[in-house]
Symmetry: C2
Subunit: 225 residues, 2 copies
Amino acid sequence: MNNHIMQAYDEDLKEISKKIMMMGQLSIDAIEQSLVALMDSNVELASKIREQDKFIDALQHDIEEKCTITIAKRQPMANDLRAIMSAIRVANDLERIGDLAKNIAKRVIKIKHEGAKSTVPLGFNLMGSMVCDRIDKVLVAYRENDLELALDVWQHDDEVDLCYNSLFRELLTYMVEKPKSITSCAHLLFCAKNLERAGDHATNIAEIIWYKEKGEVLANVRPTA
Amino acid sequence: MNNHIMQAYDEDLKEISKKIMMMGQLSIDAIEQSLVALMDSNVELASKIREQDKFIDALQHDIEEKCTITIAKRQPMANDLRAIMSAIRVANDLERIGDLAKNIAKRVIKIKHEGAKSTVPLGFNLMGSMVCDRIDKVLVAYRENDLELALDVWQHDDEVDLCYNSLFRELLTYMVEKPKSITSCAHLLFCAKNLERAGDHATNIAEIIWYKEKGEVLANVRPTA
């Protein structure tokens, strides 16, 4: 690329990166809010989260368009091309995190609607902050091209899984003890799973960062696969 | 594009489309096989499905690479660019269908491992064939650029959801009646959810086809959102 195109290309990349950071912050907010809604069984907040997911989706669409146009206009090769494709993939993961928050919000409404009552295990709060922390870290790693931080997120993938397994077991014991709680606990099982998957997307993003910088796959098999 | 580039570009698109059809067939096979494994609690088959998911992942990687190189080399604009971006997105949905089949396979192994026994509701078979039928149809719609067929798949999104809701309720009644079945039924709840999500990906692909051909979003809100 000549200097002029190079500069324009860098500007494009900066704009894309900025949109990804915005999308990331909205996704973290959505997860955090969905947990507040869950713990307080706050249906109004849950409805708001569902509504706001549209902004995340719109941003993803924006990023995809911008990336596509940049590729076609600037014809980047090798490394540069990888950077743009990575942006598309990160946006895709963030969109899914938003969806998972929306799914939790939907369950909050369902649990309330079905009149099912059950105490929400406190483990949800712990797991929620773990997941948000992972997403936050991996976004910093993305912005700063910080491979060490990306690796750190990737290597601590199992902490969320352990937390999920505890919640899974805890919820099953409630189901056995109180058959009346079975329906709401079933919804809570799915909420826990949604959170765990949100954590997995942070791991995915760590892998994308690695591939973008190194041009090689972080590991063919994820440690918790 | 001049004639020569146009021709080369068409060849690229054909190769990409061929790979997508291969990936689609593997995804359908994976879902079908995961249901066989589930109904027969066949752990060997389940392990095989987990292994074979790697081929689907590798194909997705291939398609993404091929698409990216094609964009950079041929610099397609507007319609042509949309066609390539659509291929990346369809491959992404197919990869997720493969993952969902793998998740079902993992549950088959877990259920057996935990010694939990429970009859698998026959509804799984019905739902499984519905889902595979949807994926099959939407792949034909993709290959043939058949908007009518894509719309048909999109509009019948709710059939799988109804089937899922029945299974969800059925499993809850087993849990209430037989507390010993709670663990295995919890796994089965997730299997049902995985199947439902596989069906959702067929709906996504229908939306991608529509956008590719029409340049407009099929609907801003999915009917079952």
